[in-house]
Subunit: 209 residues, 2 copies
């Protein structure tokens, strides 16, 4: 297939995704119809269905996009000579989530919240949410394995358990960002650092920090 | 008003709430109509409206009930002679959330997730979510203030920041419980303990733990 055609296909695909994201972010996933997406994209039903046969496929592509961005951030941490410690990793992740939430015309973290809500009712969407969660927790588990190996966390720590807690911190940040709206990445990361330092305060004599 | 009447009112009120909770947990808040609640409760529209003039008021009562349970758990920690340390506090809270999620005919944490989703679209529901969040974070801030006072966390820690992070941990636990379904309170608390111990491993020579 000639290269120009590939580019055209990719551009058209992105045009449809942009339209869908604008609709999802504005009115939620449930309230968005494929007709809304056609209108937003300025394309015919046939032109859209050729790329995305259903709303679920639009969500799948959207989720894959968000997942790709997040795994990249974690992979960059895994690729560093010196793996960032837990506090720095939490800060890096919540900073990136904030950047995602504010730097684009649509907010992918708000879309994530809509998709989570939809997954309570829709088994296909739930499957997508599971895939995203397991992929991210796998990456976070690798991060925790590095921490065990480097001695950054205790040798009897369970990397999958740490990954679940880190993923919970991510969900809790996105949740508060949209449900309450008054949380910043810095507050959140500083709060985490205070907790991480808590046992230091309890176990180590003062004056050595 | 005679006492028997008060009891009757309370029982009737609870009967309606039970019916609403069953509907919310089964089909979500959005998909539940007041007609569904009448049918589930076996009561007339007039009998229900006398207690709850709208779905929003049912949500408000439900949220107040969940909030009451959670603040009680935190208050019990605040009332102890020795305030539990951060790791124990996280364990106590996620254990209680798990108990809430499994010990009743309806699951209030699943209802919470539906209410969060609804709050994205509904300003009144958002107001309820904000009240719950601020009340819980106030209590968690008091807990963090105790930790600063006792030296359990560093003196330069910000109790409101710690509260935001702890609340994020709670949301992240409830989210994973329902979105993914494979997380236990023990895993989550152990993961948190591993993170709390992380700086100990990094800053303190091995062999002293």
């Amino acid at each position: 297939m000639p290269r120009v055609s590939d580019e055209h296909l990719a551009a058209r695909r992105q045009q449809i995704l942009d339209a869908a994201w604008a609709c999802f972010a504005r009115q939620g996933f449930h309230a968005t119809s494929m007709q809304d997406v056609f209108a937003e994209a300025g394309l015919s039903a046939g032109a859209v269905y050729r790329y995305f046969p259903s709303k679920t496929e639009l969500v799948r592509s959207t989720a894959e996009g968000i997942l790709g961005n997040l795994t990249q951030v974690i992979d960059e941490m895994l690729d560093r000579e010196q793996t960032p410690d837990p506090a720095e990793a939490v800060r890096t992740i919540v900073n990136f989530v904030t950047t995602m939430a504010t730097s684009r015309s649509y907010d992918p973290t708000r879309i994530a919240l809509h998709v989570w809500a939809e997954s309570l009712h829709d088994a296909e969407i739930r499957g997508i949410v599971h895939t995203v969660a397991h992929t991210l927790r796998d990456r976070l588990t690798q991060l925790a394995e590095r921490w065990v190996a480097s001695g950054a966390i205790a040798p009897d720590s369970s990397p999958p358990q740490v990954a679940v807690t880190l993923y919970g911190l991510m969900i809790g940040f996105v949740g508060q960002l949209h449900l309450i709206g008054d949380v910043t990445a810095d507050d959140y990361a500083d709060g985490m650092v205070a907790l991480i330092r808590s046992r230091v305060a309890a176990e180590v004599p003062r004056g050595d920090t």
